[in-house]
Point group: C2
Chain length 322, copies 2
């Protein structure tokens, strides 16, 4: 039904979303129902869908540009774990009843900035109004050389386990965003994830298995273990922490379970045979991303945590995320 003073769906699309699809012919200017993606025998498409809900996956009053960045980047993080180069995306936007054009304009500006940053283009989607909270679903497409995409399966006994960047900043950043911890740097990490797109694409042919750290390091390493049918040992003291996270956990060691088990880091965790260690370090250097070996892949099943080499109780938090 028409609402006085607000524009309709078609005008909304024409004004804010069609400009985001300009760089991709197959989107047809968003004037048709469908997008068309040309086949290419040398590549596979890597595809991932993620949904974020206001008040669940981001703060209910988050700025529209940051909502756009979060929705897009959690998907790009998955593509990175698959070894994909970002290509195009579909957007479904369920706006709350009280949506405003200013909000949509800010959201579209956020998407535009990330399109430039990650070289990705809108190719289609849907816009609805819902009595519920703002809900954004993005299906992102990447390209990966044919048959060489990375999955959680493929890790082998003898591989080393690596992570990119630093771990725990997402969970501690949520605390910071809620005012429970004082750290603008950590808060920024939570609000604006930095998907490791430059590293992921370079792990093709190097890593045997990979996942992004979205459910928590222990849970995501566990997913690799399950899919690869291997056991994983992680040494806590090797897990790389940012300076503010190090300070926080030194002051309060009870934060360790959140660091290892909380989610939203959007780093990569991956298995690499020792003979490819040098190739990995070169790739990480080219990607401009630090990588750290934090454990080993072996026989057996499950994730075991050691502290200074001694078996420790692995916190379970993060295994269940709804």
């Amino acid at each position: 039904m028409a609402r006085t003073g607000r524009i309709g769906e078609f005008e909304l699309i024409a004004r804010y979303f069609a400009p985001l699809a300009r760089g991709f012919t197959g989107a047809g200017g968003l004037k048709s129902d469908n997008a068309f993606l040309s086949g290419d025998a040398r590549h596979d498409l890597v595809v991932k869908t993620d949904t974020v809900v206001a008040g669940v996956h981001f703060l209910g009053d988050e700025k529209p540009g940051l909502v756009a960045a979060k929705a897009l980047r959690v998907c790009l993080s998955d593509l990175a774990a698959g070894g994909g180069t970002p290509f195009v995306y579909q957007l479904s936007l369920a706006l709350p009843d009280a949506w405003t054009e200013a909000w949509v304009a800010g959201f579209a500006r956020g998407l535009a900035a990330d399109q430039r940053r990650y070289g990705i283009v809108l190719c289609g989607g849907d816009t609805v109004v819902s009595p519920g909270p703002l809900t954004v679903t993005i299906t992102a497409f990447g390209k990966v050389p044919r048959g060489r995409g990375l999955t959680r399966a493929g890790g082998r006994a003898g591989d080393e386990l690596w992570v990119s960047g630093t771990i725990g900043d997402g969970a501690l950043g949520l605390r910071a965003a809620r005012g429970q911890l004082m750290s603008p740097a950590l808060e920024r990490r939570f609000r604006q994830p930095q998907p490791r797109t430059t590293l992921g694409v370079r792990l093709v042919g190097i890593a045997t298995a990979a996942a992004d750290v979205s459910d928590g390091l222990l849970a995501d390493a566990g997913h690799i273990g399950e899919a690869s049918r291997v056991g994983i040992v992680i040494e806590r003291d090797r897990v790389p922490l940012s300076a503010p996270a190090r300070r926080a956990v030194t002051a309060d060691p009870d934060l360790w379970p959140e660091i290892l088990g909380g989610g939203d880091d959007y780093e990569l965790v991956f298995a690499v045979p020792p003979r490819r260690r040098r190739a990995l370090l070169r790739a990480a250097d080219a990607a401009g991303v630090a990588v750290t070996t934090i454990g080993t892949v072996g026989e057996g099943r499950g994730v075991r945590l050691t502290i200074g080499g001694q078996p420790a109780h692995a916190p379970r938090r993060g295994y269940v995320h709804f």
Copy 2:
């Protein structure tokens, strides 16, 4: 957070959704973050995302199997308009806080039935819990011969305008579902759309432009007109009606605006040059779908309605659908 007596996300996926992905290797049993779709130089992928919200796009207390069918079929209807053969789909399920496993089981059974019916397989997605109403987003993928997919653009002056099946049953079916009209047949049409997948794929090389009738016949014909930069004339007395719709509008001629302007028919409206009329009729026959010519494509812009050849006032309903 874990909820007593209910299973977690990973178990939900393993129990109800992984079985739906068995037929597609690229889904990796839903054990990795991503799906991988192999490129193919002879085809394009046709891609469409649609979101349906409980209480907005289907009745809030709709049976889970019918919710699944509706969510999937509105997408398949778009693929049909693009000339695509259904291939795989991604599913994002935002469950309300009070979700039950029985509901998810019924929803998955509905998907399984439609997967068999339309030859489509789940390839990935996301599941979240939301404080809002049940929201289902599906991104469906079809295949179409390279560069030959149908869009709303391409219609030319001199083409004839055609529709599949019967028009108005969706809008009248909503009335029936609300108890405002007595017709089990129309109610079924609203609750269980029948996307014209067998016809759409056969319109490639025959139709110059196509859309599905989801916003209402006049609006969707208007979209073709705009994208093709042509004017369209529709003769109301040629618009094919089902027997119950004919009875309803004979009893109450005020229903005409709903028939022509309401949505949810999920028929196809398309333009065909007169010289391809015979090819169209053969295609429709092979598809097992009736087609009717309802108007003409000409110079100018906009959609004009005639009744018995005389210019009439075209109802505007349907142009704005939120």
